[in-house]
Symmetry: C2
Subunit: 330 residues, 2 copies
């Protein structure tokens, strides 16, 4: 890595670390504002998620991982709307721990994902604070009038979820309960998998075209499947098949060691998977398109009339209840 002379001024910080990942519309990060030329016939989709040190990441997490997570949680929101990412802005709250080497590593991780997802930096702000934060606004485009709404969906639509559920929540729990019996007994490769899933969410950008083509409604699951599952087409009821929820081998292994972890997986958050309402007549086409895009999807339930509420049923007929349905921010 190129040696960075310390300490960097705000100007140098921007010029050396962030300008290399800036897009054309960023004007070299030397103007008051960025410029984005909307593609004709598109709507703009905007999302903003902030990460705070000690709240959304551990102070000793690798800076590159924090950067990638900060960007990816926003890309996850855009994907859920069927949007193609076009750029992002970053407010960087530099805390006491964020020395120049830390920031260089952060910028390197951000640049890597900026390239990987073809989403340039457009602008932002760097400020001093005690407890670091990273607030990203991401912008995407979608064909005019076609954004996939969270409140879309009709009675009878199948509920699909991408990927596997609970990996991030158990990855976090690994860190918090490191002396727990199940953590010690879990195989090292399962621990590594869960840890990676917590640190590096996989925004389902590749699924966006399938959602745009086939979904009546969709959302990003970030605060736990059970709680977030109440929010899709919230004017309707829904039935979920607990046993259909896709779980990774690592999560299955953890639950085998400690059965209470099933609830953690279903309500813990940090999934960054997509929950979508797919009309039955689109189900086959959606599954095929998702398969071609490389994103596994699983049918886990269906929307129902409002009076049926939100029902989580196991295959042996039990109805599950959850004390805490989702992650609470405060």
């Amino acid at each position: 890595m190129r040696k960075i002379p310390a300490p960097l001024s705000e100007f140098d910080l921007i010029a050396q670390l962030f300008a290399p990942m800036a897009g054309e519309g960023a004007l070299g990060l030397l103007d008051d504002a960025a410029l984005l030329k909307p593609s004709p016939g598109t709507d703009l989709v905007l999302t903003k998620d902030a990460l705070v040190e000690g709240v959304h990441f551990f102070p000793d997490d690798p800076p590159a991982s924090i950067a990638r997570k900060a960007l990816r949680v926003n890309l996850s929101d855009l994907a859920a709307k069927g949007a193609v990412p076009k750029g992002f802005l970053l407010a960087l709250g530099r805390g006491a721990r964020q020395d120049d080497a830390w920031l260089a590593a952060f910028a390197a991780g951000l640049a890597e994902d900026s390239r990987a997802y073809a989403v340039p930096l457009l602008g932002g702000d760097t400020v001093k604070t005690g407890q670091a934060f990273f607030s990203i606004t991401a912008l995407g485009e979608v064909a005019a009038g076609r954004m996939v709404m969270r409140q879309g969906g009709e009675v009878g639509d199948f509920l699909y979820v991408s990927g596997t559920i609970g990996d991030g929540a158990l990855g976090l729990r690994l860190r918090l309960d490191s002396s727990a019996d199940w953590v010690k007994r879990l195989q090292p490769e399962h621990r590594a998998y869960l840890d990676d899933r917590y640190l590096h969410p996989q925004p389902r950008v590749a699924l966006a075209p399938a959602l745009l083509a086939h979904a009546r409604g969709a959302m990003d699951i970030s605060d736990g499947l059970v709680g977030d599952g109440d929010k899709l087409a919230a004017r309707l009821g829904r039935r979920f098949d607990v046993d259909a929820v896709p779980l990774s081998p690592a999560v299955r292994a953890a639950i085998a060691l400690e059965p209470s972890l099933l609830d953690v997986a279903l309500t813990g958050g940090d999934d960054y998977e997509i929950l979508a309402a797919i009309p039955p007549e689109n189900a086959v086409a959606f599954e095929e398109r998702a398969l071609r895009s490389g994103v596994p999807v699983t049918k886990i339930g269906a929307l129902s009339p409002i009076d049926s509420g939100a029902e989580w049923r196991t295959r042996d007929g039990l109805i599950r209840d959850f004390v805490c349905r989702s992650y609470r921010h405060f």
Copy 2:
């Protein structure tokens, strides 16, 4: 004011305090993302400025004032680009001091400015932190290809500044040096004026059409006129007439009591006025249009060849130098 039951959950906070100022594209703040339909024939202008407790505002500043400043510093950037504000997103970092009453007052101030400047809330994020922060992304529109660039301007262009310079910097100094002799001797109405100018910057939104019509380059002055004055059309030199810089009666009175405050006024920041490069042939039209828009503008210099550097000259022929040209963020 309506009684707010405490403590508010994130959901209630959004529904009760922020949804009332949400625009149509905010989708009730109930989706993963916001929707913005760009007007045909326009470019999008994006800016992002964050305010941190104890850095950009005092912990005991009125919450409504903090909210208004957080929005206004972003509107100031849009105005400098000739853009019409269309909406904003807010990341709200709720610190230890921000109880529900505090947040209700913050939201009330934000709602007031959201109405006053016709700029709806589109979305955002609320997170928990120790030291509060407010990161706003504002979006504006400008006719395609017409954004007023910071790097615009040619040799011979006049340099104009809006409003008066140094009010915010001396307002801040009042707070920091409250026992200084000049503070005690300054008339109460001057103290009140400076304090208000520090707390409530006036974004020059009304000047945007005049800039769009007549300016070759423009920028927002936030880190001090002298330092920011180096950044407009940075590939050129510039001459400034120190004695032409518009100062308010309050700043003049303060400088009369303490002459060193002139440098504070010129380099201290927190002006949120506009510096613009106006071709001489447009000068009369620009002044007239600015007058009609209710924003005073003053000619304070001109762009010159690069080899002349940045020269600050007084009317008795002295060349001024400044030890510290602008506010340093870190």
